[in-house]
Symmetry: C2
Subunit: 156 residues, 2 copies
DNA sequence: ATTAATTTTAAGCATAATGCTCAATCGAGA
DNA sequence: TCTCGATTGAGCATTATGCTTAAAATTAAT
């Protein structure tokens, strides 16, 4: 897999700024030929650097305004078998295996604090989960974005 | 803002399963008229439930295979002024204000552990940051996805 | 049960994007 | 200077898009 060059980064940045932009619009904005943009995008996708787009659904707009990060401690023996039941809880929208005091980190949405309490109890009922630690997200200062990363590559 | 009905959820699910799907393809797959899908999608976007798509760039494919979650404790007085310098660090790809023992949670990518050390030091140099706690992500069991949430709504 | 309102469906149409191919041109490096 | 890879420009058939209009179907209310 090749590394990104500056042109790749510029194309990805333009796409980040306007994900709806067509190939034609990108080429126009960047002052490139349509074929060039089309070829680079194709290669970026083939190389796995540009994954499928995602249509972003806002959980808050779905009625889940509460976002929490729940650290879960898992008893040694069970290991992987705890993940599946956790993922079956619909409100768990992301699950990471981590180092540190916890073993799993779950990103959880909820309708309100009572709902969050219910979900926390669900998590504690999962076999192998011995402890949980809930952190509530008060503000998403910067939602997930790789823009700053790309900017470094584009400046060369 | 209206709540999602089952049809909305089904459309969003189909879009989640295949984000590249055209309106025509969605209508075909769901057995609906193109106009119906087009109108529902338009309304979902107008209501803010369906945000702009995002082209997903994999940080690992960009040369940042290490993912860490860094909890930052902030001294009382400074508050918001710490956020800006933190966001200027390119490797910070997400920043949340949280309750709990930390005050900020930064999602950080790095080229390797040494790079992560460098970034941690950068964070500690930010005025107002008094303590940091780094957790390394070993595995993304379930990347961010609202699919499970939507499935609940679609089943009615 | 009948009426009213909303939603879905169907068709048409102009414009634009897409995926593709081919050949010419450009640029950097051997 | 020669060569290889990337970029460019053009063309072309197919398809999606955004939009409008009107009929049919569904739902809610009286």
């Amino acid at each position: 897999m090749r590394n990104l060059d500056a042109l790749d980064a510029r194309i990805l940045l333009a796409l980040d700024a306007d994900p709806r932009a067509t190939t034609v619009a990108l080429a126009d904005r960047l002052g490139l030929a349509r074929n060039t943009v089309q070829a680079r995008l194709k290669r970026l996708e083939e190389d796995g650097q540009l994954r499928e787009p995602s249509r972003r659904v806002d959980p808050a707009a779905l009625g889940y305004p509460l976002l929490a990060l729940i650290t879960l401690s898992i008893s040694q023996r069970v290991g992987q078998s705890t993940r599946e039941p956790i993922l079956r809880i619909p409100e768990v929208i992301e699950l990471l295996v981590t180092t540190g005091d916890g073993d799993l980190l779950a990103r959880v949405v909820a309708k309100d604090t009572e709902d969050l309490h219910r979900i926390t109890n669900l998590l504690l009922e999962v076999p192998g989960v011995v402890r949980s630690n809930t952190t509530i997200v008060l503000l998403e200062v910067q939602p997930f974005s790789v823009r700053s990363l790309l900017e470094g590559h584009a400046g060369s």
